[in-house]
Amino acid sequence: MVAVISNLFGLQHLDLTEDIVSEAFLQAAESWSIKGMPDNPTAWLYSVAKHLTSHYFKRHKTFSRKIVPALITGQEGPALPQDPDFSDGNIMDSQLKMLFAICNPAIISEAQIGLALRILCGFGIDEIAEAFLTNKETINKRLFRAKEKLRKENVLLEMPRGPEINNRLDNVLHIIYLLFNEGYYSTTKNETLRKDLCVEALHLGVLLTGLETTNLPQTNALIALMCFHASRFRARQGGDSSLILYEDQDKDLWDDELINKGEYFLALSARGPEMTSYHLEARIAWWHCQKNDPPEKWGKILQLYNQLLLINYSPSVALNRTYALFKAKGAKPALIEAMKLKLDNNHFYFTLLGELYKNIGDKNAKACFEKAYALATTHNDKEILMRKISGL
């Protein structure tokens, strides 16, 4: 709704747009609690928002005709006397424009994610704060600064054209990827919230397939990646809000429907020569969805991690690649490679070293797990390591 109305007001008046939408929801809450839910709540909300918008325009027109000439101000209000168009096509169109406007490299990526959650996904400030493990004031300040920046940079609500769209799409995909990871790897205990973040990321990804210029192989690869990961959501969640490691998951809890969806998008992503990190990660995730552990599985995963490292280094990819090496070729060659990584402040690194030492019966395993325990920050990680130490 914010996206559609912003189409009329422009990003300069994002606050005003948010006010109108909040007002519409407020009226809904009041009216529905007295008169009961209308037959079509969505249409009801849209018509209230439409009314509020045109009311604003009328008032603003009077204001600008009769009062503004008397004042000399630099502040210009929006002047587009028009009704917001809440047709499905326009909603999609507006959301895409808003997505591209928000995912603007001018603002920091945390703020881009925050704005996407607030404006496109309708998250509350408290939910965003919880997702980022911070407080409401920090998020409010971050969003305020980001909106200021969008205003100052005069970011327009329009789709970039021509070759520009490709550069901007990279950033949009990256933000969706970060949003998904925020949900998938977040340490917040709120399981529903984490799932919501993943669902919203998936929703935004699918939104991009609605337009020819953004429905590209890398878009499909990212969607496939998210589907494959999300398929294990239920299986990795323990009853006591602890995470169940991949090796210990009940494969019957994997969501076949999401795996099939992922395979559909993975096939689409292969139309063309592109091999982005999303393509490689989607394939790695696909192999992880293979339930019957074919013998070539870890060798293939290793190859994919090799390629991923060559285009996109990160300590976690380096660690995952070493783990794949262990599964494909054994603990000894993996240990030689692991020793070279020297990620001395990373508890996952010492967990992996401990695991490798354990596999060749080396007593260094205990010292490594203990070092990892000292470095681990979350309760869940510490618990897993405690079990590993006592299991030696």
Binding site: L302, Q303, Y305, N306, Q307, L309, L310, Y313, P315, V317, A318, R321, T322, E337, K340, L341, K342
Partner: protein, 122 residues
Amino acid sequence: MEEFALVFRHLAGDNLPTPEQLKVNLPLWDDWAAGIAAQGKFVTTRRLAFGGKVLKASGVVTDGPFVEVKEQLGGFMIVRAENIDEAITLAHGCPIFDIGGTVEVRPFAATNQAILAMENGE
């Protein structure tokens, strides 16, 4: 950290690696390169095709000097290392050795701008 070039040379002419040798050898390269990338020390790499042309000062173009020379350039990789000794350590295990090749480890020369700046006493 500085950048170094690892320059790969392999046997040429009649001793060019055979397709069978390459089939075994090529898959090893990603494994080796990823080991360097895993340490955050990989910059880029390119492999050269065997064929090519040579332009001489006289303007004559030939099908390459490959029959006359013993070794030919096979490709290069750029890595990051503290010093040349570390760069040599990274070069260990390079699959070029399996097909009778060598790795030349070379630091980069200063750019013209840097030389000019030095001459101007900056």
